[in-house]
Amino acid sequence: MAEYIVKENALRNFFQALTEGGQRTLLAPAKVGDKLQMVECEADKITLDFANTHQSPKSAFFPQTQKLMAFHKDTSKSDPFVYKPLGLDNMKPTVLFGIRPCDAKGLVVADKVFQNNRFTDPYWKTAYESSIKIGLACTAPGPNCFCTGVGGSPFSETGLDALAYVKDGGLAIKAITADAEEFLKGLSGVEAAEVAGEMAELKKAVEAKMPGPIDMAKVASGEILDIFNQPHWKDTADRCLNCGTCTFVCPTCHCFDIQDEQNEKGGVRMRNWDTCMSWIYTVHGTGHNPRPTKTERMRQRFMHKLKYIPMKQDGDCGCIGCGRCVTLCPVNIDIREVAKQMNG
């Protein structure tokens, strides 16, 4: 695949060119208030110096609130009370610049849920597959980063169309997909170069600084019920608040709630992020709750990430090691520790 560089003084033009003359929405790391986020932003607001964005980039394809369909109640017009899909036609494709390799891998995990063995989520598919994802490799991983612990790498190419790293204040880019090569080669500021060798060396050097793999062999081979019934869950759950912060910042958490809202003219059906930490998430109409206390709810999250997803996704871990939940958990429930406990 082709390799390129973008010199520091050409960055601004390059970022602007990524929108293909406004045909694509550019999402890139930039400050929103005092938080670094993956957002639609001007070329000169983009920063290259960061550990990772505060929230995961999943909202680019799976917004926290997303209208799915709408209906009207006007009986003088056609199809009253019949839901019609929203947002699928003319969805403007995006280009994500600066997504970290761990997050890109997380989106692949989510993609396998949104496009599972039986159903395809058209809202996700349309947004995800029409986007171009240019990753930015980590040369200075953050204190809670552990992608290398869960089968990833700061230079992982999974789920990316191209991978870049910061070189002399500018960028070195390697195309991964043919689409990306096609996309990149004519862009302003892009020059052909050879960077793969340097990239491979950097990769080795950065990986060497990072944590080694977390041993999950026994989790992988163990029976579900044996892990499910381990005694440590209760201890961890003691301090869990069921606050759901971990689920909201996690790049692979994909759960949502479907809600209808209406007025006298019509209504919409939308989905909103939901969290398995919530009591109401599983409660039956009868009042019976299969996960009645915080212990079951917290266990569910870790079982899902570390046991269920690997079972369903050929062994790939549901945690990609971005470390956001470790940083933000108010009671320091650390998925790395939980993984160790699960592994016995």
Binding site: A70, H72, K77, L86, E261, Q262, K265, G266, G267, V268
Partner: protein, 148 residues
């Protein structure tokens, strides 16, 4: 353009103000028709979220009225309500709801004239605030071409 007619949600205690409104009616005391009345067993039953919900759904004003202190059918419901209302009143004005949108009164079932007076006052004060545009949920955008 005709004068703005506010929509006001009125929460009346069953034992007093609701009766006063009835009495005002049978006494042919004229009062403005801008209210949608919700009858409550007691102002103590009024959860503050009802008031917020009324505004959120587009009410221009809210009026809560119950029994005079000491006259509560349930002994102390209105005393408890008074403390709640005081905080809520303060709270919503502090976060930017215009003063003059939320009203409280004590009106016994015999006070038809007071009912008439307060009703007029409430409507005028809410009218002076203009339509509630800030503290209401935005109209649902259906995004359907055929009803645009």
């Amino acid at each position: 353009m005709s004068e703005f007619e506010p929509k006001i949600v009125a929460f009346f205690c069953n034992w007093c103000t609701y009766g006063a409104a009835d009495l005002a009616g049978v006494s042919r005391l004229e009062y403005p028709p801008n209210f949608r009345v919700v009858r409550l067993p007691c102002t103590g039953r009024l959860n503050p979220k009802y008031i917020l919900e009324a505004f959120k759904r587009g009410a221009d004003g809210v009026w809560v009225s119950g029994c005079h202190p000491g006259d509560c059918h349930y002994i102390a419901g209105n005393y408890h309500a008074r403390r709640k209302f005081m905080l809520l009143h303060h709270m919503i004005e502090a976060v930017g709801v215009e003063p003059g949108r939320l009203h409280f009164s004590w009106i016994s079932s015999a006070e038809a004239t007071k009912f008439q007076e307060v009703a007029k006052e409430v409507v005028e004060k809410v009218r002076a605030c203009g339509p509630n545009v800030n503290f209401r949920k935005a109209e649902l955008n259906l995004g359907l071409p055929e009803v645009a």
